[in-house]
């Protein structure tokens, strides 16, 4: 009895919706903190961070939890929407829903679908490139020496940064598995190259042809996210039974601030890159 109640009932679906939703709110904060380095930090630090995020086992675990949460949140949402549609087979001829409820609260499914579309395109543009693109560039630094400019890969070896020349032919080094530097003779891995996520992100939003449209679409997606959060954040607490006049003001106030500030900060980044960054 109790087992089926916690998995299949209408209320169980709400609990899962709320829990995955709140977890994804935490993910947003982490993701935002990382992204803000695109404005407030340099390419090297950002790429180091990107490497950490794709290799650290704890972060990996969290990222799998995030993928599962997104999928579960979407599937649960679709199931709820289908059930809710079935609950009213004949619609009203005349409806006046704005008299008793907020627009965002009535359009969570539409907003959520748009966010899912955004997540998929976003992952194709950045996540998939970072993980699977054979041609993903490694980070290079330019050094002027005796009137000549040299390109170097920034690499990491036992915690220390090293600079290895691009002229691999004569360096006695070769790159394997896209980012690993090997000593040709000793067959030893001596360094790890940073994938230049910073470069492809800037190139994406500064692209002469598509940069502006990408920026605009990104900002629109953040508006959609904002409306989704505007209802979703406080709603998750209600679904989990956290409704107490003592704290409701705090939850609703924090939820409103969260749903405005987080998407706003996300949206500022591509605007900064497209219009203001060098």
């Amino acid at each position: 009895m109790a087992k089926s109640a916690i998995l299949k009932s209408s209320l169980a679906k709400k609990y899962w919706m709320a829990l995955t939703g709140l977890f994804l709110c935490l993910f947003l904060v982490g993701h935002l903190a990382g992204n803000l380095q695109l404005i407030f930090s340099d390419a090297s630090h950002f790429n180091q961070y990107a490497l950490f995020m794709t290799t650290n086992p704890a972060v990996k675990l969290l990222s799998y939890l995030t993928y599962i949460s997104i999928l579960f949140h979407a599937v649960d949402g679709i199931m709820l929407t289908v059930q809710n549609r079935k609950a009213r087979p004949i619609r009203y001829a005349m409806e006046n829903p704005s008299a008793n409820s907020a627009w965002a609260s009535r359009n969570m499914a539409v907003l959520g679908t748009l966010i899912l579309v955004f997540i998929v395109t976003h992952m194709v543009n950045f996540w998939a490139v970072m993980h699977f693109d054979e041609k993903m560039p490694l980070e290079t630094v330019q050094v002027d020496y005796e009137g000549k400019t040299y390109d170097f890969y920034v690499t990491q070896n036992t915690g220390k940064d090293k600079y290895i020349p691009v002229d691999l032919e004569n360096s006695g080094l070769e790159i394997r598995n896209r980012t690993e530097f090997y000593d040709k003779t000793g067959n030893l891995k001596i360094a790890e190259g940073y994938k230049d996520l910073h470069k492809i992100t800037f190139a994406f939003f500064k692209d002469a042809k598509y940069g502006l449209i990408a920026t605009i679409l990104y900002v629109i997606a953040m508006f959609v996210l904002s409306f989704h959060l505007l209802h979703g954040f406080a709603s998750a607490f209600q679904s989990l039974g956290a409704n107490n006049p003592k704290y409701n003001g705090l939850i609703k106030g924090f939820g409103k601030a969260f749903s405005v500030i987080v998407p706003l900060l996300f949206a500022i980044i591509p605007i900064y890159i497209h219009f203001f960054a060098k």
Partner: protein, 253 residues
């Protein structure tokens, strides 16, 4: 004495012969409606006109006509119990409308509330939810205990009383975009869960009532809050949250 005023209105009313046949919206013109009359009295006036024209009168639910029985329903101009809050349809007056207004009158729309005829719907789904656990089992063969022997904190008693104010009219279901009955069930669960007498069976009660609610085909709550706004008795969303807590605790036991 207030001078009485009369208005002419156009009515668009859902007509449906019986549960099986398809219904449709019919248009009626009704003149000289006193703004002092209630919405139901206006429908009485329409029915007298229809009878005099040898037409079938409009069937609609009503009983006490003083806002306490929960019988009158009606989705009026897109809102449960019409364009006002904290009232049932019998408490809605024609002064809320203007001369030459067009007024849509539809039955509650929910899979769990099938139309019986015209504007009358079958709300026995609520009865079955209530029967699934909305009571306190009493053994009447022993000695009756004095009600005041069990102390109840004033705050809890007040919250239980507010929840018990639910008249089971179904406006929450009718107005909810998901056709969810959670305000009703939340109120019924709460009124017992808050009191020591009800706590004894609280675990089974909430599991059984929610199970029955799901079986009846009601939708899921998405916390839009429309039910709370349209509830004639001002039942708070707090009751849904309490049901959510009770259910979570009960299903983990």
């Amino acid at each position: 004495m207030a001078s009485s005023k009369f208005i002419n209105i156009n009515l668009k009313i859902w007509r449906q012969k019986n549960a099986k046949e398809k219904g449709k919206i019919e248009t009626y013109k009704l003149d000289n409606v006193s703004i002092e009359s209630s919405f139901l009295e206006m429908l009485d006036q329409l029915n007298e006109q229809l009878v005099s024209e040898r037409q079938e009168p409009v069937a609609f639910d009503h009983d006490c006509r003083e806002g306490i029985c929960g019988m009158c329903s009606l989705f009026i101009n897109g809102r449960a119990h019409g364009p006002d809050t904290g009232i049932t349809t019998c408490q809605l007056h024609m002064r809320m409308f203007k001369n030459n207004d067009t007024i849509y009158v539809e039955p509650w729309r929910s899979k769990a509330f099938p139309v019986i005829k015209d504007l009358v719907v079958d709300r026995t789904a609520f009865d079955r939810i209530q029967q699934a656990g909305g009571f306190v089992s009493v053994n009447t063969s022993g000695n009756t205990i004095d009600a005041n022997a069990t102390p109840v904190p004033k705050h809890d008693a007040d919250r239980a009383f507010e929840a018990a104010a639910c008249i089971g009219c179904g406006a929450c279901v009718a107005t909810c975009k998901n056709g969810s009955a959670m305000l009703f069930v939340g109120a019924k669960v709460s009124q017992y869960a808050l009191l020591p007498q009800g706590k004894v069976e609280a675990t089974q009660r909430v599991l059984n009532m929610v199970r029955q609610m799901d079986e009846e085909g009601f939708g899921n709550c998405t916390n839009t809050g429309a039910c709370e706004v349209e509830c004639p008795k001002g039942i708070s969303l707090e009751n849904i949250a309490r049901m959510n807590r009770e259910y979570l605790a009960a299903s983990l036991k």
